[in-house]
């Protein structure tokens, strides 16, 4: 985000230089054509803009989609179950949610991997025993960790949503390439179409369409990528108002003080 903004600002400042170089060098600065991802259409997210805030019911539904579908391949290794209290769950609910997960618990006497029910201070770690197992199970590709995905994924939430809903209805694996999806780099992704109608049952009886599931899980992942964003914005408004008030007082004080000074 920063890179893009700085880049556009700098481009503006040095537009003349760019124009000059374009005239001098012509086709030299034209980049070779690649299968660039299609630009995702903008969505109206609840958390969008400097004053947005997360739609917590959607975040919770998104957790259901993540736990029911995404978690079979993807991890949230920086997130602990206890962090989920911030999306509106009580500690008891978090304990109950954690208990439905199995996590690795060392080796038993014969050297086999043991598992136990997760506890609130466990991370939402990968379901594979290691990257090799993940690679073997997914045709040579390790499913990425999703802890910061909306922040680090170029295109952010819009592109994530577009990718999840961007498969053709009859998508099939093309050997060596993956599944066709115009929002992926090179227009192919290794991820099979993850969502289908009714794949999860929402506790609040929202109809689980593919679009709804994609929308909810994207909101959940955006929340996971910036869990304190709502608090951050609230602090900003409070601190901003306080500083404005203080600044007005000091403007008055400063004017009074300097009014006695002859220029």
């Amino acid at each position: 985000m920063r890179g893009q903004k700085t880049r556009s600002a700098l481009r503006f400042c040095t537009g003349g230089m760019l124009l000059l170089s374009a005239i001098v060098l012509g086709p030299d600065i034209v980049q070779p054509v690649q299968a660039q991802p299609v630009k995702a259409p903008e969505q109206n997210w609840s958390f969008k803009g400097p004053l947005g805030h997360f739609d917590l019911p959607s975040v919770q539904r998104g957790y259901a989609v993540f736990a029911g579908i995404c978690a079979s391949c993807h991890s949230l290794s920086e997130v602990r179950f206890s962090d989920l209290t911030d999306m509106g769950l009580t500690l008891e609910e978090v304990g109950a949610v954690a208990a439905t997960w199995q996590v690795a618990d060392g080796l038993d006497a014969e050297g086999r991997l043991k598992h136990r029910n997760a506890r609130p201070d466990d991370a939402l770690s990968s379901s594979y025993s290691g990257p090799e197992a993940a690679r073997a199970a997914n045709g040579g590709v390790v499913p990425p960790d999703l802890s910061r995905i909306v922040q680090v994924y170029p295109g952010g939430a819009d592109r994530l949503f577009a990718l999840l809903t961007g498969y053709k209805p009859d998508a099939a694996r093309v050997p060596g390439k993956g599944f066709a999806n115009s929002f992926a780099i090179g227009h192919y992704t290794a991820m099979p179409p993850p969502l289908r109608e009714g794949a999860v049952k929402y506790a609040d009886n929202t109809p689980a369409t593919v679009t709804q599931e994609a929308r909810d899980v994207t909101t959940f992942l955006a929340w996971v990528s910036a869990p304190h964003q709502d608090t951050r914005r609230r602090v900003g408004i409070g601190a901003g108002l306080y500083l404005c008030f203080l600044a007005v007082l000091f403007v008055i004080l400063n004017r009074r003080l300097w009014s006695h000074v002859r220029k």
Partner: protein
């Protein structure tokens, strides 16, 4: 025997008393310090810098409580600070925003000095200590950026190490000392953490020296009137009030960036954990290093690139000797002032162009633009500053 401790306490009390008196006298002396009445708002940047420095020190000290300088744990410890440490996200946001604001204010402070020629005698010491501070702050900012151990941290350290390695004769040894191995790793993190922590306090000490020199030599001023005709006002309350107002206005901008537009100063790639096997497509430093990064890239030879980009900072130390004229009333006439502002504007424009060239990896036209920018940047210091006095004398 019983009398000894009592006498001891008495004496200690007396000493403490005199210390308090001393501190009070010191504070009164500083509060009464006469400053030129015509100082303008550019003279409040120093107060902003002090405010941000204090914020950096406090937030930095708190962040160390949750940070682990180890290649396998650093990224997770920063994530834990952001996600689970009470108000950890706020502390880290303040520290990150503070770094950008500190560098921005420092550059403006520097440009103020260049424009108003505050480096002229008797204030060469102020200028030199300021340049020393600039270098220390840059090193500290770089070391701090390595600590979160994201992709940009890792590959930034890698690029910097290779740049250091390009120094003839001592380069290889310096690279080894810097990295503590063949590639960035836990030893590098230990080095950067120690450097970041240590330099913070060195900077505080040097800031005190910087301010002490200002107090000893008297403040610079935007006017060129002889000192005898100038009006003076005490620091308190005239300038303290104005400084506080300036700090409040800066704080508003600070809060806006930190709380509403954090994307302006965060690098998304640095939220991916460091991966030595995967080189990012775009390795770019923080915005405040981009001009020097650009200069490094537009020069074809590695060593000369290092010399040109390092020299761009080093040349600042020579400024009081490059421009050794006198500030006279004639020298700041209408035409000369426009020339001054235009030349400084060209120099800043050159730095921005070099930064843009760095962003575009000096490809295509950017190579040429970046090289032209280097030339203009150096011309300001090596041609304009020495000639400025001569022009002024001719005009007089």
């Amino acid at each position: 025997m019983a009398a000894t401790p009592a006498r001891h306490t008495e004496q200690a009390e007396k000493e403490a008393h005199s210390f308090l008196q001393q501190a009070g006298a010191y504070a009164r002396h500083y509060a009464r310090l006469p400053l030129p009445a015509d100082l303008n708002w550019w003279w409040t940047i120093g107060a902003m810098l002090v405010a941000v420095l204090v914020l950096m020190l406090l937030s930095g000290l708190t962040l160390t409580l949750g940070y682990t300088p180890d290649a396998s744990l650093a990224f997770g410890s920063v994530e834990a600070i952001e996600r689970r440490m009470p108000s950890g996200w706020l502390l880290r946001a303040m520290h990150m925003t503070g770094a950008s604001f500190f560098m921005a204010a420092l550059y403006v402070h520097l440009l103020r000095g260049l424009y108003y020629r505050t480096y002229l005698p008797p204030r060469r010491g102020v200028w030199l200590s300021g340049c020393g501070l600039l270098v220390l702050v840059m090193v500290t900012a770089f070391a701090g950026y390595v600590l979160p151990w994201g992709q940009m941290s890792y590959w930034g350290a890698d690029v910097a190490a290779k740049a250091v390695g390009a120094v003839p004769f001592v380069g290889q040894g310096l690279e080894q000392v810097f990295l503590g191995g063949e590639s960035p790793g836990t030893p590098t993190l230990h080095r950067m953490f120690t450097l970041h922590f240590l330099l913070a306090f060195v900077i505080i000490g040097l800031v005190m020296a910087h301010v002490a020199v200002v107090h000893a030599k008297g403040s610079s001023s935007p006017s060129v009137q002889p000192a005898t005709r100038r009006k003076y006002l005490p620091f308190y309350p005239y300038f303290t009030t104005r400084d506080i107002l300036a700090v409040l206005v800066m704080a508003l901008g600070f809060v806006a960036v930190m709380c509403f537009w954090p994307g302006l100063i965060t690098e998304p790639a640095n939220y991916r954990p460091a991966n030595p096997l995967h080189t990012p497509a775009d390795i770019e430093p923080e915005w405040y290093f981009l001009p020097f990064y650009g200069m490094l890239q537009v020069v074809p030879s590695k060593f000369w690139g290092l010399l040109v980009s390092g020299g761009a900072v080093a040349v600042l130390f020579a400024v009081p000797w490059l421009d050794n004229g006198q500030r006279t009333a004639n020298g700041n006439g209408g035409l000369a002032r426009i020339a001054d502002a235009g030349a400084l504007f060209a120099c800043v424009g050159a730095a921005v162009t070099a930064a843009a060239a760095g962003l575009h990896h000096a490809q295509g036209g950017w190579l040429l633009a970046g090289q032209a920018a280097c030339l203009v940047y150096y011309l300001y210091f090596l041609a304009f500053l020495p000639l400025r006095t001569r022009f002024a004398e001719k005009n007089a």
